[in-house]
Symmetry: C2
Subunit: 342 residues, 2 copies
């Protein structure tokens, strides 16, 4: 059997381990799309320090390209496209990437944070095979070194498009699980992706965003009062919104998540993003959940304030990254000034 | 007539201009208590670049001391003590200062931000003459230079102690106004201090804190959506709390405050504090207002989240300023770890 062709977009901490797992399993050939780390990956490769795979001095996926266009013309068509990049649709939506590699039989795997992230894809590609993966992994790229300290455990399920036969969609999903599974990682079929995503949001929408906004790790957040004053009420809101969406999470999940980094002065990913001056995933983590809250008439005052603050910060980051320039003199409302993106 | 003796604590942007006004008026002798800028003030004096008084090459109050103790023993007793330092009761309460210079006839002037800041003073000194001053001034100390760009306008009123004859309290207050007035500043007797303080809170509790939490000036806050999404709902909460406290502010005050820095990429004081790594006045600006909200059963979800976030940040600042040290390993709840202040 010839190997499956997998296009993987985003070689960060999660993406690098995913690429390695896929090639290690031996059933697929990975073409990775990399932007900022392209030269490093081509010239030196990445080093892996992995609790799953041990030390790997030099890892480089079979093919490395700078863009999806290049990948398709040199190595396409692909059986699967796997998105492992940060999920910031306000800055970098996925559909333009998908457009360039799409065909009727493509499996689109979203191995990314957030809730309801398949919706935008299905809106543009109504009959697509969309596969949703929630990865539990603690892996970060520093320079050319991938440090994976937590074992990879991924739940993968179908985002039913409501058009194609469900059996066919499930088959596609299970094909990918087959490609991805090694004797090291734990990749399981997820009957209820929605549940898994809401569950993860209990942590991400609350602890992640509170730490990011106060610039303290979860240990300090707790000692300084923020877990009781912000995280708990915010978690209760996530549970209420999830319930309105048909997902009943047990109340005990709150305590479980609060205690999940015990013993560590752990800096959640959104805090790391803020500290690095990077964009945050506030839109898919908080924004999409708040859309559900609005639709279903659920009050979420705490999450709303956190979202609105992170929104302002995202625009500050855009300015810092020179996505737009503001005039020297502050415009007044009557000037009808509009920010123009470069 | 011999000059009145005024003890002034805090020679920042506001305090320096207040000290200069008091001495310029010619009716009082100022003893200033300065800590971090003591050497500069003694050796070089401050330079004033003042829209009210023009350029003053070297200004030094009559007496400069390092502590209230020193001031009292060398130059006391005082007729008035004027607090112009930042108002951070969680870090530096006023009562220990007052204790050192208190006598039955002392006028205690609070020329500081916040709501209800006289309460703690009257709790400890129930028959004290407490005078409340709300200063509208834009003045900042950079190195040894005080840049005053907005004219000084101060409203000064009585915080009735409910024990001493009100006429006597009012007389004390008017004595201070007399000492403070020059032909440059605008110092008026305030019949309703409470109104004036709530009015200022409409700006400070909302724009100040939103800018501080997002690290953008008011111009950017508006362009990036934060004025509509955070400031307006927060202002509506301030108005509701004020109303429950007997102060009916017109709705138009919201727009007035939002437009008050028009044309300027203005960084409000709390944002400047955050950028400098200083403590913020979140406790007297937000905390005291939320106490009233709680007492009167007024919902204030937006202000509550802003307060809780700023609270965590205040503790982060305390750690940065080495007020306490955390153990290398994050303590668990069962460790019953308590932060110990140095």
């Amino acid at each position: 059997m010839s190997k499956a062709k997998v296009l993987l977009v985003g070689m960060g901490g999660v993406g690098s381990i995913a690429a390695y797992s896929l090639e290690k399993a031996g059933k697929s050939e990975v073409t990775a799309v990399v932007r900022s780390d392209y030269d490093t990956l081509i010239k030196e490769g990445f080093e892996l320090q992995s609790c799953d795979f041990g030390k790997v001095d030099v890892f480089r996926p079979t093919n490395v390209c700078k863009s999806v266009d290049e990948a398709v013309s040199k190595h396409g068509p692909f059986d699967f496209v796997v998105f492992t990049m940060k999920n910031t649709p306000d800055v970098q939506p996925l559909n333009p990437f998908i457009e360039k590699c799409y065909h009727d039989d493509l499996g689109i795997v979203l191995l990314q944070n957030g809730y309801g992230i398949h919706k935008a894809v299905l809106q543009k590609f109504p009959s697509a095979y969309v596969i949703s993966g929630v990865s539990m992994i603690s892996s970060t790229l520093y320079g050319r070194t991938v440090k994976q300290v937590g074992p990879e455990s991924v739940k993968i399920g179908v985002c039913d498009n409501g058009k194609t036969d469900y059996g066919k969609q499930e088959k596609k999903c299970k094909e990918f699980i087959e490609l991805y599974s090694t004797d090291k990682n734990d990749v399981t079929f997820d009957e209820n992706v929605n549940y898994t995503r809401w569950r993860k949001l209990v942590y991400n929408a609350t602890i992640n965003s509170s730490c990011a906004l106060t610039n303290v790790d979860i240990g300090r957040l707790e000692l300084f009062g923020g877990v009781d004053s912000i995280v708990r009420p915010a978690m209760a809101e996530v549970l209420a919104i999830a319930k309105s969406d048909g997902v009943e999470l047990p109340e005990s999940i709150m305590e479980f998540m609060i205690r999940s980094d015990d013993g560590e002065w752990y800096a959640p990913s959104m805090l790391v993003d803020i500290r690095k001056g990077n964009y945050t995933e506030y839109q898919v983590i908080l924004g999409n959940a708040l859309d559900v809250a609005k639709e279903n008439g659920i009050a979420a005052p705490v999450l709303t304030v956190l979202y609105n603050l992170l929104h302002v910060i995202q625009w500050r980051t855009m300015e810092e990254k020179h996505r737009f320039t503001l005039p020297e003199k502050r415009p007044l409302p009557q000037d009808n000034f509009k920010i123009e993106f470069k």
